[in-house]
Symmetry: D2
Subunit: 302 residues, 4 copies
């Protein structure tokens, strides 16, 4: 593994966005900023190496602009510089993404993360201009987020390395395709200039062993300790890492399969730390699945 | 073909959204409402059987809420009840979709069209609740829009027919998968209760012959006459329809392949009816492709 | 529709391959050549415009070379020149395909059909050489068979038209992708030099209306009359075609979904014309599905 | 990692099949059994832990039955029991697969490998019966080979574990999907009863670290030493493994991308160990790619 550790590394925790009980259907109330502050603080105090608000887990797709701004400000204020922050700013339009980049910068984000949401299939020139415009406006380190299943476009390592050559502050890539071979490829093709991060929970350990600098995950909202232990064992190249992963895997697969906002919010409820329902169209985790989750959380905290 | 003709049928024209030259990059200016009014009027006067603002062609994904509202109001005002209107209201959150449904209803839309944009993969129960909530709030006939390539979810005819059984005002389906067999399947599975519309330009004629009530298309922005002639020949079961389609096909394939907002805006410019650039991340149609389009438009208007 | 009718057109019937009861598991006996002769004769006498032995329906993938040769000879002998024949000769190796082409030619086939089975992904140069070598050895008209789901390669209209320009006796294409727009595209791109045939049962009528010269189908093994009636109504441009298709569609969808050899063999058994089981790994149609088929056959022969 | 090492483990080398220069096109001559004997002997003497004739690399898809039998017998005779052998026996029909299993067993194979080639999409019951019949006839340990890109079916870990519960001698799985998370899942779901093997070259090291018992690869035909060194370093949990992989990776990606028979045969020619051309439809590696390969081989042997 690389000796140089980039400023953002280790366990990068993704909070959900709490919603206050409103007068309408569950989940349609305003973001519950007090609960968000508590949850974010919990993530820092549990030892997260970084916090990443407004990712997919944070249901950013379902927030209005004003809500997005409030969640951004509150999250960064709650972290209060204790660890680095990476704010998810993906939006369909370049303008919308730029606007969010500026809000994040103004509130003191360490870096921004850009998922290239693709309504109309973009040409290479359009993708390049989009990233360049956003990176320029952000004036912060940019993490390109590749998640073909969500965004509708798969940015191959060659493409990402090419973008990074042209955009000086595009220095990080979060790869969520689950294809472990890409971590090495991205390092190689960028001559080590890109730091790579893993966004696919089931390959958490494989990614560290292939050179990933960090693991982007919502799991620490519920079980921070084994996530941190996995990272530390992986860094020590200790075989214990395999045993920790074996314990975590059923849980990691479960939260991915059920959808992170549904699963994490149900888990917080089970832990007496309820933050309300996910926002419609999402529904709460069904009862049967909630019981499965209860068993998993009990085993992991035993 | 069916003898009963539903109120919305024939050529359903999709306008682009003009943007005024702003102070920033091309396409970042505000919607040019005067130009939108002219373009919309042109579509009605050319003989469109219906007008559908704020579809994918209308770059609705790149508009702020305030811009969306202004485009909706202006479009409906410009149509002024001369033909039916179908307003695209797709949004990631149920709330956002409901809000748009209400705006459309308030300004007098005949119907609303809902593309189920899927950020997190939705369960069947979530999809059903989303459509039911939106349809209830709209209080207007709802056109479900299936476009797997854009939305990330493919609603099969069985699923659509099931939704329609439970939601009384879900009475129309726009199918853009290009799978012609679905038009018959949707009619059959709903016992004729659903009117089906085709959103895939290259199968325009096949769709009419398989029972589609209408063709949802941006082509009339540039070449309304052959589109209308195709519909009329298809209704008369006249073999001339094949000849008209043969002339239109290279153009239809071209605008689909290049992306409708890029291609239609370039074409309006060539016709001396310029409405500005598409909004970033989209770029204008490149020069070489614009020359190809010039040739096609010349041949079609000869 | 085109005025020139190519020699092979209309209903092109695909027989299954009967297997004699052997000493081992059902379906493992030798091809039952007497039953094959009867079934083939039935297809001709029912009015098929052509017969196509050794297609996918004929389970050619599960035959040894010697069995393949015997089925080829018997089928062509049973047709006895009364209608044209198209023999499926697809094989992984070029040599194996050439060998089959020669056997088919020696026994008097009218044409051969080549599915490009792709074990290793082939380059364009490899595909071109494969078809050229086979066409040259065949010395007969060649029908290129595009079926991406089975072969693992999708030959787009542009590619097929390019191959046809270089290979004089590649004059026919069977398109089974179900994409109706390809029938027109193939005619257009080849300036009408290619005759196109439809291999996707559910779009049978749409294909004729888009210029397909024939329908390649196993359905006439069980219900020849409505298949022929559909073709005739389509040729007359009679709206009755839609009614015939509506009656046939549930049956056509069923046999495709269940797999043609399983469904056709179960249907022959129900009609008292049993030809044994499909060969393993295929299993006979399960009981429940056989009952569904019984109902469909009853309705279609009423 | 597991303490129990199964009898088949480590570097499992896949030979190509040499073809003698014939009178026809290159590659159409008979298998060159003397050259096969030499190549196989080389693989054993270089330290391979097992040899696997008649895999995809061995162009088994392009061999006649008689050729297949001769290659099987010669390969096993050349290994002469010095290391275990795994013979690829995949065939479309159950009968054909059984026949090959028996030939392999008669000539003393240690195990057989079954790729479920799927011409017609098989039901679960059909897949289960196919594997059970073949395993029963083989009377040897069976390695199920999952390679969705080639076979057209993706056998998920749950399915494989279910099959293994019912078939006592189905004790090994070769996973070529490249999805590293499956190695752990297969071990877990089978309670460790299944030994898992990796068939995707680019994830060679990740697979060992996730519990794969062996690496199935054609690379040792050209560069056995670094392959063996990678395995040994991985077993010692030595960080040197990452450096070895980094050196090998461009070569591994290249041979996968170019197709193993093309690339390996070109490489043997460059090393003065020529074994003739691949069989048509395959063509030899083009000149430009051959030059790239020359550079890679030079660097790896430096």
């Amino acid at each position: 593994m690389r000796s140089d550790v980039p400023p953002i590394h280790g366990i990068i925790s993704y909070p959900v966005t709490p919603f206050a009980p409103g007068t309408g259907a569950p989940g349609t109330g305003a973001p519950d900023l007090a609960a968000l502050r508590t949850l974010t603080g919990d993530l820092v105090e549990a030892g997260s190496h970084a916090v990443a608000p407004l990712g997919s887990t944070g249901e950013s797709a379902y927030l209005s602009d004003a809500e997005w701004d409030a969640v951004c400000e509150t999250s960064l204020d709650a972290v209060a510089g204790r660890v680095p922050t990476v704010v998810g700013i993906g939006h369909w339009s370049t303008e919308g993404t730029v606007r969010r980049a500026r809000v994040a910068a103004r509130h003191g984000a360490t870096a921004v993360m850009v998922l290239p949401l693709v309504y109309w299939k973009l040409t290479e020139a359009e993708l390049a201009r989009h990233f360049a415009t956003v990176a320029d406006a952000a004036g912060l380190p940019v993490m390109l987020y590749n998640n073909p299943a969500t965004s509708g476009v798969d940015l191959l390592p060659e493409t990402v390395a090419g973008l990074a050559r042209d955009i000086p502050n595009l220095t990080m890539v979060k790869e969520s395709s689950g294809d472990v071979a890409r971590f090495r490829a991205l390092r190689e093709l960028s001559d080590g200039a890109l730091s790579v991060y893993n966004g696919s929970n089931p390959v958490a350990l494989d990614a560290f062993r292939s050179g990933a600098a960090g693991w982007c995950t919502a799991a620490p909202c519920l079980v921070p300790r084994p996530c941190l232990a996995l990272y530390e064992a992986a860094m020590r190249k200790d075989a214990e890492a395999d045993a920790i992963l074996a314990e975590l895997l059923p849980f990691l697969r479960f939260i991915v399969q059920q959808g992170l906002p549904r699963a994490v919010k149900a888990g917080l409820e089970l832990q007496g730390r309820g933050v309300g329902h996910p926002r419609p169209p999402l529904l709460p985790l069904p009862e049967k699945e909630t019981e499965q989750l209860r068993g998993m959380l009990r085993r992991l905290s035993a």
